[in-house]
């Protein structure tokens, strides 16, 4: 931390200004008072006879309830060549049922004050709405109807397909999202977990109504579903409402589709790829690293490691890349769940000319955390940053529901809400270094850079002679053998 220089023009003039204010005698910040304890309660849970789990987390003081129906499977079930099937299936739930058209459903939901949203991700498909307490019964009626009785009309499929293809055109024109999609593909190779969950320009036209109906019939079943209710609600009332709207939902004969095997941690294929986007106004840079399922205390250790590297403004990546060097507006990292596994991603955007330099800085920071223990004061502050962010994320009914959803989608207990802060507090520097040394080595790292390649490819090749370059028009993120369409 550099103290401000006192001889610049700015400081001199500001000193004059300050000189008029001798009334401020306080040269050091006043210390904090005694902390008030922060407690997050474990949600209550009970299952209906048909196997539907009902999870309730009350929050007092606001007349709002978030209702979320989660089915515990998602984009990992997309068959080869049909990337985007689970996403399309979940998105189309709200676009027509046996009783109502898509416009009727949207109007009914919004007359209740909320928006009915549906979609799929990894290991989860969901329908959700947030309404004021008196509207909850009617809102749950809609959630149940779209979950249980969707029609997947071909006209609605065609409409959503066209919209999704247009949305892909926009995200493929954005260097940040292009780099993210490519890095995930590099990290997982051709297996079940590396394709784009939203589909590709090649896969979306292959999806037929029968594919949607078959996936819905197999996967949307009460014994693989969870109803989450957060906010102004009790368990008793939640169970009564759940029985009314979901009590007659019967599981189909036969077993639910099995999850594919966990993704690999060492994918075949290139380690560094450049997507050439000749008109991009910046370069998008993403370093991805697959993490195997984490056990016990490993989970919190990895989360704190992620916070040290790229969680919050003062993390190491932002320190090195933004604060010290002015190379980006924001450099950050996150661990995204893929079933019980995880995908670590460090990401940023920078001017095209700086792309190779920031790749080198990313790698240096991963090396450093493997080689050197995190100093105690830095570790303490990053743990508090992580705890604070978690605490604030559950201050809203929707945030609380999302936190429960991500736990159940990863096969974990919602009761971890209550124990998460203690688990983070227990992480020591040796836990982080051990985890980093075992998991963050160069062999697993995959790097994607999307931008105007002529401005950085030579410098990048000096670091990574084996890198591959793909033109943005040749990119095929579903191609099993690589990234390029043949």
């Amino acid at each position: 931390m550099t103290p401000p220089a006192l001889r610049s023009l700015g400081s001199v003039l500001l000193s004059l200004l300050a000189g008029t204010a001798s009334a401020q005698p306080f040269e050091t910040p006043p210390p904090p008072a005694a902390p008030r304890p922060l407690a997050i309660a474990a949600p209550a849970e009970q299952a209906l006879a048909n196997g539907l789990r009902v999870i309730v987390a009350p929050r007092e003081g606001v007349p709002l309830v978030t209702a979320m129906l989660v089915v515990l499977s998602g984009s990992e079930l997309d068959p080869p060549q049909l990337s985007g099937l689970a996403s399309m299936t979940a998105s189309l739930l709200t676009q027509g049922t046996r009783r109502h058209t898509a416009p009727q459903i949207a109007a009914a939901a919004e007359a209740l004050g909320g928006s009915l949203e549906s979609g799929a991700g990894w290991s989860q498909s969901l329908v959700t709405i947030t309404v004021t307490t008196p509207k909850l019964g009617a809102a749950l009626g809609l959630v149940a109807e779209v979950t249980r009785e969707p029609t997947f009309a071909p006209s609605e499929l065609d409409r959503l397909r066209a919209q999704t293809l247009d949305a892909l055109k926009v995200s493929y024109a954005d260097p940040g999202s292009m780099a993210g999609l490519t890095a995930a593909r590099l990290a997982y190779g051709s297996g079940a977990w590396g394709h784009p969950a939203s589909g590709t320009p090649a896969s979306l036209p292959r999806i037929r109504q029968g594919d949607l109906v078959a996936l819905h019939r197999a996967a949307f079943r009460p014994d693989r579903a969870v109803l989450i209710l957060t906010g102004d609600i009790t368990l008793e009332r939640a169970l009564a409402l759940a029985r009314t709207h979901f009590g007659s939902w019967a599981a189909p004969a036969g077993v639910a589709p099995p999850q594919p095997p966990a993704p690999p941690t060492l994918a075949a294929g290139p380690a560094v790829a450049v997507v050439d986007m000749p008109a991009a106004g910046q370069a998008g840079v993403v370093l991805a690293l697959p993490l195997p399922p984490r056990q016990g205390a490993e989970r919190a250790a990895a989360d704190v490691l992620d916070a040290v590297l790229g969680g919050g403004y003062s993390s190491r990546l932002n320190q090195e890349i933004r604060i010290k060097r002015g190379l980006s507006y924001a450099a950050y990292s996150r661990i995204e769940a893929r079933g019980q596994s995880g995908l670590f991603q460090a990401a940023l955007q920078t001017k095209n000319e700086s792309a190779a330099e920031v790749v080198s800085l990313l790698k240096d920071e991963l090396d450093r955390v493997m080689q050197t223990p995190v100093p105690a004061d830095e570790l303490a502050s990053r743990k508090l940053t992580l705890i604070g962010g978690f605490s604030r994320s559950v201050e809203t009914t929707a945030g609380l529901a999302a936190a429960i959803r991500s736990l159940v989608a990863s096969g974990r207990s919602p009761a971890e809400l209550k124990t998460r802060i203690a688990a983070i507090e227990a992480v020591g520097p040796e836990d982080i270094q051990r985890y980093a040394a075992g998991r963050f080595g160069a062999a697993g790292r995959r790097i994607a850079v999307a931008g105007v390649s002529e401005r950085f490819v030579a410098a990048l090749r000096a670091q990574a002679p084996e890198l591959v370059v793909v033109g943005q028009d040749q990119l095929d993120l579903e191609h099993p053998g690589g990234l390029k369409r043949e």
Binding site: L17, V62, A167, G281, Y313, T396
Partner: protein, 458 residues
Amino acid sequence: VNSRLLAAALVAASLGAGLFGAPPAVGAAAPVAETLKVPRIAYRERKLGNGMTALSVESHASPTVSVQVWYHVGGADDPDGRSGFAHLFEHMMFKGSKYMKSEQFDRLTEDVGGENNASTAEDVTAYQAVVPSNHLETLLWAEAERLLNLRVDAASFTSERAVVEEEYRQRILASPYGLFFEAVRTQPYLRHPYRRGVIGSIENLDAASVADVVAFHATHYRPDNATLVVTGDFDPRQLDAWVDKYFAPIPRPAAPLPRRDATEPAWSADRTITVKAPNVPLPAVATVWLAPPVTDADAPALQVAAALLTAGESSRLNQALVYRQQIATQASFSADLRAGPGLLIASAIAAGGKSPAAVRAALLAEVKRLADRPASRSELDKIKTMLLTQAFSSRQTPLGLGMALADAAVLGGDANRVNTDLDDLQRVSAADVQRVLRRYVTGAHSVAFDYVQGSTAK
């Protein structure tokens, strides 16, 4: 709105006083609210001797407190030849003061489990922190300290200016529609400084110096130009004592507050503007009209009109252009209301293969239909229920509650608007919606934008 941090950009977006910009409270007379007991926001307001306003609301739902300082200065106050400066200055407020090191503000917030961000809009600059409530006094000290004693050195200025230039590239150049929406929000103005935008230009940012930072701080960062908002877990008597201790002694400068000399002449003709960019995945169109200030009596009816057209999947524009006609990937009508003359912006991104002219025609036809024929009672009720639910959702946290209050006080000019704005929205009738659309839209001149692929200088 441009923020210090990307992550909070969505939260900060409501600073612009757009559709949900001033999340309204509920009136006892409101039909929607009859089924709910909705307490008024019981805020406290103090005016200090030096002209500073201090607002607060207690809420003990979590052991956190939000401390916000909003300065009545924004991109419209950029010095000549320094467009983007108010926003660049906002970044410099984290770079140290007489008794704080550079980035020490992050040590006092993030490092103790809190967070901070700041954002600059056309009319205001907002500094927003949330901390565990036992750190309230420390944060009050820190906000007072950087109001009084800002220090900036040349090295941190140069480095942070590079960050802001990367922010410009990320928002305007790399984002496929960044250049378009920046043009739509600025280029319609003939004379008003809103014409320059908040993010500015690389050239003007490069021209800025540390001397500009000093002058800007002296001119605009003074207690009579600031509003402190504290919301969450605190003791009111203790808060008052700390405000007296840290903020009350800050002297009010002898010079009067600068008045922004800014007007926009009535538009006397329709205009068209074509914006070209090297990276346009799908063409876009917009048509823009001048709006009255956010404090105008017509503002609530314009906000309801915008919500009827845009809020939710069942909104008129989404149903017509995206769902039925399938000629747009998205379509919206926003009431971008500001302290001065704002903008009414109808915009749409074409669906693949659709003609921009057809998209614009469909967009304008829907706006005209709402001006020509009254909305039904049930459609109006739907919109009012959505606005109410949105208000509850955004006020669940100390940060959201504080933003609603600050928005009412600083942009609306009266903190009590936090309790009256939804009353005003609830009173809007179908005839009011027609009247304001005829006055400001169908009966007024406009600027039409086309966004197309083409080479531009970077």
